[in-house]
């Protein structure tokens, strides 16, 4: 089994996992999903062997987000649910308003965009996490971005 201290694993993946979960389930429920994700990762740490650690933990996070949606029986972040009070986004931080738009994308696109830009996965890893082909993952990200662009342009008009 991997002998890499879990402490380093946690430190390395906590930021993208939280960003991804916020995009998937909304900021208020992301905290619980975060705890569940890393607890599952800790308990199953030996199964990490042979996987990309980022893709492995994101697969867990994705499953926790899906469980969460099943439990609450609602779509991830109903559009318009308030995001935490954050000052006007600086260019250096992920834009919460834009992530609110991501929450309104169709499931596959939302997941793919989250894995790509919140979790910072490669397309190969996104494909593994979503159990699909690399080409399909790439297409979902692209379509998601296209849809975001259309929505933003529509709003700006």
């Amino acid at each position: 089994m991997s002998r890499r201290p879990f402490h380093l694993f946690l430190d390395e993946h906590r930021t993208p996992v939280l960003a991804y979960l916020r995009a998937m389930v909304g900021p208020s429920d992301a905290d619980d999903c975060f705890q569940e994700t890393f607890m599952a990762a800790l308990r199953n740490y030996e199964t990490l062997d042979g996987h990309s650690p980022r893709a492995w933990v994101m697969t867990i996070a994705r499953n926790k987000a899906i469980d969460h949606h099943r439990a609450t029986g609602r779509r991830p972040v109903p559009k318009g649910e308030e995001l935490p009070d954050v000052p006007a986004p600086k260019t250096s931080e992920p834009d919460p308003e834009l992530w609110a738009e991501v929450a309104g994308l169709p499931d596959r696109q939302r997941e793919a965009v989250g894995l790509r830009f919140a979790a910072d996965l490669r397309y190969r890893e996104i494909a593994a996490a979503m159990d699909t082909s690399e080409e399909a993952a790439r297409r979902s990200v692209h379509e998601g971005l296209k849809k975001l662009r259309e929505r933003i342009t529509k709003e700006e008009r």
Binding site: P5, F6, L10, F38, L42, E93, L145, I152
Partner: protein
């Protein structure tokens, strides 16, 4: 399509690509942007240490001689890292010799940190902590460290004397080796084992720290 539409269409396409890049930048933010995940990770670590899902918890504390590390399992304190011991190495060793399920959980180590701080400040003479001897090899090593653990504050013994207490008076070299790999310095006070003569001898934390500790205890 008129003649004029062609360039405008190309321009629109280029605009769309630029928009999407802009969207990517806004989604991603720059790496290392601040977030709350450090607080959530700290909370997670404490929960995992308390539940036992993390088999080892570690923490650091500042002392007058530098940053000291301490780690515990569910059985008790399993290792103390003196200031000359790099934290990364300390954690790596616990991960490889005890369990990789290790987290930083200072709350879990409140008592140990407090008692160690008090000792370094000269306000504590004995430790009231459970110990886990998992990193101590068995046999003669274990006997030497057991005998060392019973040495009172402010007292010293020579390597020959501690070898004798451990049941083998002629094994003073082996006693030195056992003390050199003591995973629980301070708590198992190997600094109280000294050479016969003015120089107190070697120490895992460095000879200067040994002199400092003996000075603290008034036995120099």
């Amino acid at each position: 399509m008129t003649k004029n539409d062609a360039p405008r269409d190309a321009g629109a396409k280029k605009g769309a690509a630029a928009d999407e890049r802009e969207i990517e930048v806004r989604l991603r933010g720059s790496a290392g942007a601040s977030d709350d995940s450090d607080e959530l990770a700290r909370r997670f670590a404490e929960i995992a240490a308390a539940s036992g899902d993390a088999e080892v918890a570690f923490a650091t504390l500042d002392t007058p001689v530098g940053t000291t590390s301490v780690a515990a399992t569910s059985r008790g304190i399993v290792s103390v890292g003196l200031p000359n011991h790099a934290l990364d190495d300390f954690v790596e060793r616990l991960a490889s010799d005890i369990s990789p399920r290790i987290v930083e959980a200072p709350g879990r180590l409140d008592d140990a940190r407090r008692e160690l701080s008090e000792f370094f400040e000269g306000e504590r003479r004995n430790f009231d902590l459970d110990l886990d001897w998992a990193l101590v090899p068995g046999g003669f090593y274990r006997k030497v460290l057991n005998a060392t653990a019973r040495l009172p504050y402010g007292s010293t013994k020579t390597y020959g004397e501690i070898a004798k207490s451990a049941g083998n008076p002629r094994a003073h070299r082996a006693a030195g080796t056992a003390l050199g790999v003591n995973p629980l310095p301070i708590v198992v006070p190997c600094h109280r084992i000294v050479r016969a003569g003015p120089d107190p001898g070697n120490y895992g934390g460095g000879p200067e720290l040994k002199r400092w500790l003996l000075g603290l205890e008034g036995s120099l």
